[in-house]
């Protein structure tokens, strides 16, 4: 009976996130609903991106109006650089998660979090440069055509998400420093990591379907 009960408990306490079970069993149960809930939020957020992608797919082919087509605007150099910066930031955020999981030195987590956010800010700077070139030099702002409206909304929504992630990360740096690696703080970092990785996946979608297909078309 007790074996059965503990097997039940194991099954019930398995949660879909970075597994805390071995390092932090008491935090495990409280992590479960929070992390699961955050996965659901990400799912709903991905619906938004899916619809923006779908709209872009339709408008980049049928909604160019009198304006330029994707092939006339995009090149791959800056987007490739943006991709590398963003993917590297995901990698460094992985070190934050590992530091929190194996209870490394608090400064380790904070340090990697700072590196991650700096890379995120670098990505935003590159993308801002990209937007500004499009609008001011190529005269291809969002008001030019349906295609450009959908381009700016898709990449702009991603931009706003990354910016929100940076703001959130800055609060968490303060919390890691002031409160230390307590369970609530660790769970927040874990959610930031999930959010950040999702944005990477979305960016890979943008790189593939917007820039790569745009240049190939």
């Amino acid at each position: 009976m007790s074996d059965h009960a503990s097997a039940m408990a194991d099954r019930e306490h398995r949660h879909p996130g970075l597994n805390l079970d071995h390092t932090d069993p008491e935090g495990h149960a409280s992590a479960e609903p929070v992390i699961f809930g955050f996965w659901i939020f990400l799912m709903s957020d991905l619906i938004v991106f899916a619809l923006l992608f779908a709209t872009y797919a339709a408008m980049s082919t049928q909604g160019t109006g009198d304006g330029p087509a994707p092939a006339q605007l995009f090149d791959l150099r800056i987007p490739l650089l943006e991709t590398l910066v963003l993917l590297t930031s995901s990698f460094t955020l992985g070190f934050v998660s590992l530091a929190n999981k194996y209870e490394g030195h608090p400064r380790q987590a904070i340090g990697w979090l700072v590196v991650t956010l700096v890379l995120g800010a670098g990505f935003l700077a590159l993308e801002y440069h990209d937007f500004s070139t499009l609008i001011h030099e190529k005269h291809a702002g969002p008001q030019v055509s349906g295609f450009l409206s959908s381009y700016f909304l898709l990449t702009g929504t991603h931009f706003v998400h990354v910016a929100a992630g940076i703001a959130w990360g800055m609060v968490l740096i303060v919390q890691q420093a002031v409160l230390g690696p307590t369970l609530p703080v660790k769970l927040r970092v874990m959610r930031l990591a999930l959010f950040w990785h999702m944005l990477d996946i979305v960016w890979i979608g943008i790189f593939t379907f917007v820039y790569l297909s745009g240049v190939l078309a």
Binding site: V48, G65, S145, V171
Partner: protein
């Protein structure tokens, strides 16, 4: 200030946007109706505020309600919001019916702009600020009790969802006095709602109110889904959950997936209007058909978000008042799930006439008809639950019976409309208006009113007056048939929806009957409110401290009425479906628990009311182009949440001894109550302890 110029401090705000500042003849009926409505709202608000001050209710309102994170109180606030908004939307329906009946061969008394605002607010309010809060409030109250939980998984998020919905509702209410509303209908189709054809701020009010409410609903769906997956009592497996909890799960999943398309559509429309984007414009590669696509990608699942809670309510009501477990429980669960999935495959039937190929229309037409199958399964299951049951025709049961008949008629007209060739003829006619009211009034409104009758004693500890309930029921039922059956006929005669003036005299008799029906429905609503008021007065005579007035089956009936803030003194261990019925059968109901534990509950938080104010100001500022205020409001939303995350003491503890004292006092009280038989349950002897009499064995 010249029109169009944006003042940096006050944006586009100007005195002429106030409804009382009239242009043209100030004594026209049109102006009197508009000023009267605005005045009524202001006077009503002032009377309410005065009453609160005189009675000293402000502090309790803040302490016990606005800052509370208790799912039961949040549920009650949702329903209260829904009822206030419903009063306005029903009144608007009556004004529109009066205009249409008065406008056969004459212009009637409203101007076109006002009429357009009326059908837009009526639809927007009924869907987003009556239906959504009503069902969310009901699920909020009932679901955690049914699955044996102390609260939802994220109590603060729950309060924030309510705040967002209330902020959206406040924007709509303010537009009654200041600025006016969209004339683009509740669906807000561009290009009409684009800046070129709707240059005022009405559409913007619509955009931000609907966006706030849709974000609130997404968060609600998330919260309820996590609660249902992670927060059930030990032994409460999925296939032991009451059907109302099952529909809550399905509705939550629909909310998570279906609200996002609405947000995307409204944000794109906003960018078109504010920043000159070309998503839905008629030029520069814009495509307004994508709006219809995105909107109904939300809109059709939304229909099932509205209908499924009703299916849960009917399942509970019919089994309780037939004194039987549900017939075909598993098939009801399966039918609910099938409907949820199919609801995502039919959105195109809202625009069969948009010009896609006949094959696409055929596929969506067939998918639409398929939904009739699981719905039919449900109707049969409910009928078979009644067979050989000990049926009592209480008010909720009367609603259930009228629902089954009426909903069937509505479903049949739906199958007619699902055929694209027929839809080409009936599209945008009053036949369609009759059809969807025929689904939503029995399939949503009747269910909510039945649910109020059914669960009210659980919420407040006293039953509702039975006699007024019956009068209200007959007015609702008769009013519905009088108001909407004529619209089928008018639709067949060629009358189009949203028309404010007619040239064909043969419409008049049908429009007159529909007006009588609308007045009947208004009387029904007023009787319903009177029923609540009278019951509050007679609350001592109607009290049911035992908590089980209807001989219920599920866990919520095992609790005191009103329910203590911690819900369960000791979390139940569930061994069967319909656990409270099983407990009563086995003589295990109201037993003294062996041990009590400390209970941890979330502390109150001012975050939600702050967010309500901040998001309302943001929405208002965006509508009126007051950019500094919009940014300030947006920042202010995050301040309470960020500050809160630096504190760790979010819970308070109710000691085990206190729980024991309260619970055992209640158990002693229950033991002293008379156990009443079913035939006495609407009489004065019913104090909430049932002498259990279930029909039949295990199904």
């Amino acid at each position: 200030m010249s029109p169009g110029a944006v003042d940096p401090l006050t944006g586009l705000m100007n005195w002429r946007a106030l409804v009382f500042v009239t242009r043209g003849d100030p004594l026209s009926v049109n102006h009197l109706v508009a000023d009267g409505a605005a005045g009524l709202m202001l006077v009503g608000g002032a009377i309410a505020a005065g009453l609160m001050t005189v009675k000293g209710w402000w502090r309790p309102l803040w302490r016990d309600w606005l800052t509370s994170l208790d799912h039961k109180r949040i549920g009650v606030m949702y329903v209260a919001l829904a009822l206030v908004m419903m009063a306005r939307a029903i009144a608007e329906a009556v004004v529109m019916r009066t205009q249409q009946a008065a406008a056969v061969g004459s212009p009637g008394f409203l101007d076109a702009h006002h009429f357009g605002e009326l059908f837009s607010t009526h639809g927007t309010i009924m869907i987003f600020f009556v239906a959504m809060p009503f069902l969310t409030g009901l699920m909020n109250f009932v679901m955690p009790l049914q699955i044996g939980a102390r609260d939802v998984s994220f109590p603060l998020l729950n309060a924030i969802s309510l705040a967002l919905t209330a902020a959206g509702a406040a924007l709509v209410m303010v537009s009654l006095v200041y600025g006016g509303f969209s004339t683009g209908g509740w669906t807000g189709y561009p290009p009409f709602t684009g800046i070129r054809y709707s240059p005022g701020t009405g559409v913007d009010t619509w955009i931000w109110s609907v966006s706030l409410s849709s974000i609130g609903s997404t968060l609600t769906g998330l919260n309820f889904a996590v609660t249902l997956y992670k927060n059930r009592a030990p032994g409460m497996t999925f296939f032991r959950m009451p059907l109302f909890s099952w529909v809550t799960l399905c509705v939550s999943i629909l909310m998570i997936f279906a609200m996002a398309p609405l947000t995307v559509a409204t944000v794109m429309l906003a960018l078109d209007r504010y920043a000159g984007f070309h998503f839905f414009t008629a030029d520069a590669g814009g495509n307004m058909m994508n709006y219809a696509n995105l909107f109904w990608l939300f809109g059709h699942p939304e229909v099932y978000i509205l209908i499924l809670p009703a299916f849960g309510v009917w399942s509970e009501v019919i089994s309780t008042f037939s004194a039987k477990q549900l017939y075909g429980y598993h098939s009801l669960v399966a039918a609910t799930m099938v409907i949820s999935v199919l609801s995502f495959t039919v959105w195109l039937h809202h625009f069969f006439t948009m010009g896609q190929s006949a094959n696409v229309n055929a596929i969506f037409g067939i998918a639409t008809m398929l939904i009739g199958i699981p719905t039919g399964v449900k109707i049969y299951d409910w009928l078979l639950t009644m067979v050989r049951g000990r049926i009592r025709l209480t008010v909720p049961m009367l609603f259930a019976i009228v629902f089954m008949i009426t909903f069937l008629i509505g479903g049949l007209t739906g199958v007619i409309l699902a055929n694209p060739t027929i839809d080409f003829v009936f599209h945008n006619s009053l036949f369609l208006v009759a059809h969807f009211h025929n689904m939503l009034i029995p399939g949503f409104l009747f269910a909510m009113i039945a649910a109020v009758q059914f669960w009210f004693p659980k919420v407040f500890g006293f039953r509702l007056d039975e006699r007024l309930g019956r009068i209200s029921f007959w007015l609702w039922a008769v009013g519905f048939y009088l108001a909407f059956m004529p619209l089928y006929v008018l639709g067949l005669m060629g009358a189009m929806r949203r028309t404010m003036e007619w040239q064909r005299p043969e419409y008049l008799p049908w429009l007159a009957i529909a007006l009588v029906g609308a007045l009947c429905l208004l009387a029904a609503f007023m009787t319903f409110v009177a029923q609540i008021a009278v019951s509050v007065r007679r609350r001592d005579a109607l009290a049911v401290p035992g908590g089980d007035p209807w001989d219920g089956l599920s866990l919520e009936w095992s609790l005191p009425a009103p329910v203590p803030e911690y819900n369960f003194a000791v979390l139940p261990r569930v061994g069967a479906r319909d656990p409270f019925m099983a407990m009563k059968r086995e003589g295990r109901a109201h037993l003294r628990p062996e041990a009590y534990e400390d209970i941890r509950l979330p502390k109150n938080s001012p975050a939600a009311p702050i967010i309500l104010a901040a998001t309302f100001l943001t929405g208002f500022a965006l509508t009126w182009h007051i950019w500094w205020l919009a940014i300030a409001g947006l920042v202010a939303c995050w301040i309470p949440i960020t500050l809160r995350s630096f504190r760790e003491d979010h819970e308070r503890v109710i000691p085990a001894s206190e729980v024991r004292r309260q619970h055992e006092a209640w158990l002693d009280r229950v033991a002293a109550l008379p156990a009443i038989r079913r035939e006495d349950e609407t009489g004065p002897r019913n104090r909430g302890r049932a002498s259990s009499q279930f029909a039949g064995g295990q199904p």
